[in-house]
């Protein structure tokens, strides 16, 4: 009677443990701990079939030999050795699993093992000092059936949980990728627009002000160009961290575009006079943070930034309006250079629109051949014409001749400058060809053309010039190119290589506006240039201005020492000419000698 009750008690205790937890490992661990208690076992284990991911399974792979693997034990170790590392045990389990018995007792050394099959996918092992009575073993049969069913249910549950978790992870990843910038981990442009839309609504409901600050890292392109994109990426990552640390809970930082970041400030007071100091403080902090040098293995890099911002406290401006305005403001700040941060105002939009329509007009001018080349003759001290500088003129049908000072900078902002430069080169070559057919005085050597920075930066710059010379069948000796000091400095080695290539075919080079930019005298010595042009600002009133005299004198002496010729630009009076002669400058260009002439007028100069 008591034995029967005891067996029932054991059965019930073990069965009760089986469905205790949907987590398979916890359930089986709890089951084993009760086995230890109710069956008085020293150690008990469960081995299961596992899939290729080492997860338990009940589905047999008929194509492969089935090997059970350790899944859980109570206690975890035996004499200090983890049961999953017990090779003797696993060496006994699999042969038992392969045979036809449902349960078996086996003594190995001093250990008595009792093996019981769990369905057709697992084995329960009970280690005891004494043999288990057959009545107990028989009584375990329904327990093992229940264990098999619950194990299958738990494996299914586990698979379902894994599938749900995997799906959740994938969804989270997709959602993250859709809203975050992969490089910096910041929110991306799409997401900040959502935040901005909600911030606009909040401002209306809660009577607050919001602000969008668009930050452009100035000089960033140089890092990418010179050090490579990997360094550029690191700069962006560090900049992102700095901005996040700085903004904290005040707002949201996002990467807007390339090297542009955007900050949405929320919950600012509605009063304008209170808002501005807050924004000013944030801007000051951003500028300070961005100007701290970025340090890498490759070196330290200093950057600055420009900031354009726009505030909002009602629904009059939509998301796109606010972003566009901040973008216009940052462009304006960048253009002006002196102000690091500018708030948007409507004048900026008007200026931008003007700018855009002007750019469009330049394009039309190129299409309709409204550009012309005029030539300003150059003379020596004996009044012989020694050459001419080709100067671009735009004969606007509505406004007449436009100043190059207006349209060249605008053209330089886009690739229009390349089209204009191409026109200048081609037209000058055609004109030289025509001049070569005239009885030119022996003193007349070359026509010079101005080269833009973008032209010089092109790797095929020299080839383009040489091709034009060949195509127009002119002598390279009749063409001179004029470059400024500063345009060489972005890639001095490339500039030197190009100029040397041109020098080798006979095209001479002049350094324009000399003295106004910055030069490295070391590089100047390496340049294959034959002429220095003294800028007109040093020539004006040279007879009265000692400092101009001193500069002109220095340029002349420098040219002499480098075995270069020197020409003065902007000579307008006899006094200026006399002063230049006195200083040893014997070539000139300026209104005193001649204004720029149309090509026909220039040709007339050579007619007998």
């Amino acid at each position: 009677m008591n034995i029967a009750m005891h067996i029932m008690s054991i059965q019930h205790q073990l069965v009760l443990a089986i469905d205790k937890d949907p987590d398979l490992k916890k359930m089986l661990h709890h089951f084993l701990s009760l086995c230890s208690l109710s069956l008085n076992s020293t150690n008990c284990h469960i081995f299961l079939i596992k899939d290729k991911n080492n997860n338990p399974t009940y589905q047999l792979d008929i194509n492969h030999e089935i090997q059970l693997k350790h899944y859980v034990s109570f206690p975890m170790k035996k004499n200090g050795l983890l049961s999953n590392e017990d090779t003797e045990l696993s060496g006994l389990v699999n042969p038992f699993f392969q045979n036809n018995y449902d349960e078996q007792e086996q003594k190995v050394g001093s250990t008595l093992y009792h093996f019981f099959k769990i369905g057709d996918f697992g084995v329960l092992i009970i280690e005891r000092e004494k043999s288990l009575d057959q009545a107990i073993r028989n009584a375990l049969s329904p327990v093992l059936n229940k264990l098999a069913i619950s194990t299958i249910a738990a494996i299914n549950h586990h698979s379902l949980v894994i599938e749900i978790k995997t799906r959740q992870r994938v969804e989270e990843k997709i959602s993250y990728q859709a809203s975050h910038d992969f490089l910096t981990g910041l929110y991306n442009r799409m997401k900040i627009q959502e935040f901005l839309a909600s911030a606009i609504d909040d401002c209306i409901l809660q009577k607050q002000t919001g602000a969008i600050l668009l930050i452009n890292l100035a000089g960033f392109k140089n890092i990418n160009d010179v050090m490579g994109y990997h360094v550029g990426d690191e700069v962006l990552q560090q900049a992102a961290i700095r901005l996040k640390v700085l903004i904290k809970d005040m707002g949201i930082v996002a990467r807007f575009n390339g090297h542009e970041f955007i900050i949405l400030l929320r919950g600012l007071p509605v009063n304008k006079s209170t808002v501005q100091p807050i924004i000013n403080d944030v801007i000051a902090d951003i500028i300070y943070a961005m100007e701290i040098p970025f340090e890498f293995i490759e070196g330290r890099f200093s950057l600055s930034c420009f900031i354009g911002y726009e505030t909002f406290n009602n629904a009059s401006k939509g998301v796109q309006d606010i972003l566009k305005n901040a973008s216009i403001a940052v462009y304006e700040a960048f253009k002006r250079g002196k102000d690091k941060a500018l708030p948007y105002n409507e004048v900026m939009s008007k200026q931008l629109n003007d700018h855009i329509s002007y750019t469009r007009e330049i394009k039309q001018a190129l299409a309709f051949n409204e550009f012309e080349l005029h030539y300003q003759p150059q003379y020596d001290h004996l009044n012989n014409m020694i050459g001419a500088e080709a100067l671009l003129r735009w004969n606007n049908p509505l406004r007449g001749y436009e100043s190059p000072a207006v349209y060249i900078p605008i053209a330089e902002e886009s690739d229009l400058i390349m089209q204009i430069s191409s026109y200048v080169l081609q037209q000058a070559c055609e004109d030289i060809k025509k001049l070569q057919q005239l009885p030119l005085p022996s003193s007349f050597k070359q026509v010079s053309i101005n080269i833009s920075a973008k032209q010089l930066a092109k790797h095929d710059f020299a080839d383009t010039i040489i091709l034009a010379i060949k195509k127009n069948q002119i002598s390279p000796l009749n063409l001179k190119i004029e470059i400024t000091e500063s345009m060489m400095m972005s890639d001095i080695e490339l500039s030197i290589a190009c100029l040397e290539k041109l020098h080798d075919v006979g095209v001479e080079c002049a350094i324009d506006d000399f003295g106004t930019g910055y030069s490295s005298l070391a590089y100047l010595k390496r340049l294959p240039a034959s002429l220095l042009k003294i800028d007109r600002s040093f020539v004006t009133d040279i007879h009265k201005d000692p400092s101009n005299q001193a500069i002109a004198n220095m340029v002349i002496k420098l040219a002499n020492s480098l075995n270069m010729e020197v020409i003065a630009e902007g000579v307008e009076t006899k006094q200026e000419l006399d002063s230049l002669i006195a200083l040893g400058c014997y070539q000139y260009q300026g209104f005193y000698f001649s204004r720029p002439l149309t090509f026909n007028k220039l040709v007339q100069c050579f007619e007998p």
């Binding site: 008591n2 009750m5 005891h6 029932m8 008690s9 054991i10 019930h12 205790q13 009760l16 701990s33 009760l34 230890s36 208690l37 109710s38 069956l39 008085n40 076992s41 020293t42 150690n43 109570f74 206690p75 975890m76 170790k77 035996k78 004499n79 200090g80 050795l81 005891r128 000092e129 004494k130 288990l132 107990i136």
Partner: protein
């Protein structure tokens, strides 16, 4: 070979005596200090903390209802044991109610002693995770380990800081002293089946709600009433529960005693878990059987080898049952070890390996260890 521990015993409840004994064992070259003191010493907590903090050796131990020295038990005084081996002491203080957290916590903290096999486990008896601790600790450390220990605290069932650490006295803590030498241990109790079995039809941890589908207290009272002639008084429980504990019988016939501590008139609260669907019995014993059991324990330990240090965790309820005859039990324990002084405590629950090797919380038992 392990050297015998240095033993300093004092009947004085004063802290200065304790401090002197600690300094003395340190001077004599001990490597770990184990303190066993009496709750009735009423040590001042701040002063005790100062003494403990100045101890330069690993320090462990606890405050118990009584201490045992040779063949006597004392309700005042202290035993300072200077262990001659470098032991690692781990105090498990973050004993949370969540079983998963508790398991993870025990596993994390036990990594530092995972290569040890022999332990003294001292638990604050009123920390309700004591039994769960032993289960998880055994699960992590595995079979083949050897442990002795017991519950510390006061008989008034109130919680006090009772565990000695190098930082002071703390409560709600279980302390494990990992020894680098083997412990030979044995357990016994002398309790036998009087009635049963009864199926535990409802229980929750320590609380046994129903037996054979009847309220536990109702059935318990009925069984005892059938065993005695006179009608039971309403407050019979306090007197009879000491004499008639419950017991869970293992498949191999060992009885795990479960002392019933208190009742609300429906359930019985036991010292230790009683699983639902387990079979329990009503037990009884007498002084002679209990003495014989203790004698057997001591003889078995003596048979296994030389005892350099003898450490006894005897259940405080045995002391209550023996009363002034407790010396008889202690005498039979001391007898097989003429060259080693018996030291120990009257504990609130004992801890040791049972026959299948697992570490269990025992009641009304004698746990003897030698090392």
């Amino acid at each position: 070979m392990t050297m015998a521990s240095i033993i300093k015993f004092t009947e004085s409840p004063s802290l200065s005596e304790l401090s002197k004994s600690i300094n003395s064992v340190i001077e004599e070259g001990a490597k770990t200090v184990l303190l066993l003191t009496c709750i009735d010493n009423n040590y001042d907590l701040d002063e005790t903390e100062q003494i403990l903090k100045t101890c330069t050796l690993p320090l462990c131990g606890a405050v118990f209802p009584k201490v045992i020295y040779k063949n006597k038990s004392y309700s005042h005084g202290a035993i300072v044991l200077g262990l001659m081996v470098s032991s690692k002491v781990v105090n498990y203080s973050m004993l949370t109610d969540s079983d998963t957290h508790l398991k993870n916590y025990i596993q994390t903290e036990s990594k530092q002693i995972e290569h040890y096999q022999n332990f003294i486990i001292i638990s604050d008896a009123f920390c309700n995770q004591c039994e769960n601790f032993t289960d998880h600790f055994y699960d992590y450390m595995g079979s083949g380990i050897s442990a002795i220990g017991g519950g510390a605290g006061s008989m008034d069932l109130l919680s006090y800081p009772v565990i000695f650490t190098n930082q002071g006295l703390v409560n709600n803590t279980t302390q494990v002293v990992a020894l680098p030498c083997p412990i030979t241990n044995n357990i016994g109790h002398g309790w036998e089946i009087l009635e049963g079995p009864y199926l535990v039809t409802s229980s929750e941890g320590h609380y046994v709600h129903s037996l054979n589908y009847r309220p536990t207290f109702e059935l318990y009272k009925e069984i005892i009433q059938n065993k005695i002639d006179s009608p039971l008084e309403d407050d019979f429980f306090n007197e009879y529960s000491k004499r008639f504990p419950l017991g869970i019988m293992s498949l191999d016939g060992d009885i795990l005693v479960r002392d019933s501590l208190q009742t609300n008139g429906a359930y019985l609260e036991c010292v230790g878990n009683v699983p639902v669907n387990s079979m329990i019995y009503l037990l009884h014993s007498d002084l002679h059987k209990m003495t014989l059991a203790s004698e057997k324990v001591a003889q078995e330990v003596a048979r296994k080898g030389i005892a350099n240090t003898l450490l006894l965790f005897d259940c405080v309820t045995r002391d209550l049952l023996f009363g002034e005859n407790i010396g008889d039990e202690l005498e039979v324990i001391q007898r097989p070890f003429p060259n080693t002084s018996l030291v120990g405590v009257m504990a609130l629950g004992e801890i040791a390996n049972t026959t299948n090797g697992s570490i269990r919380l025992l009641n009304k038992s004698t746990v003897l260890g030698s090392f």
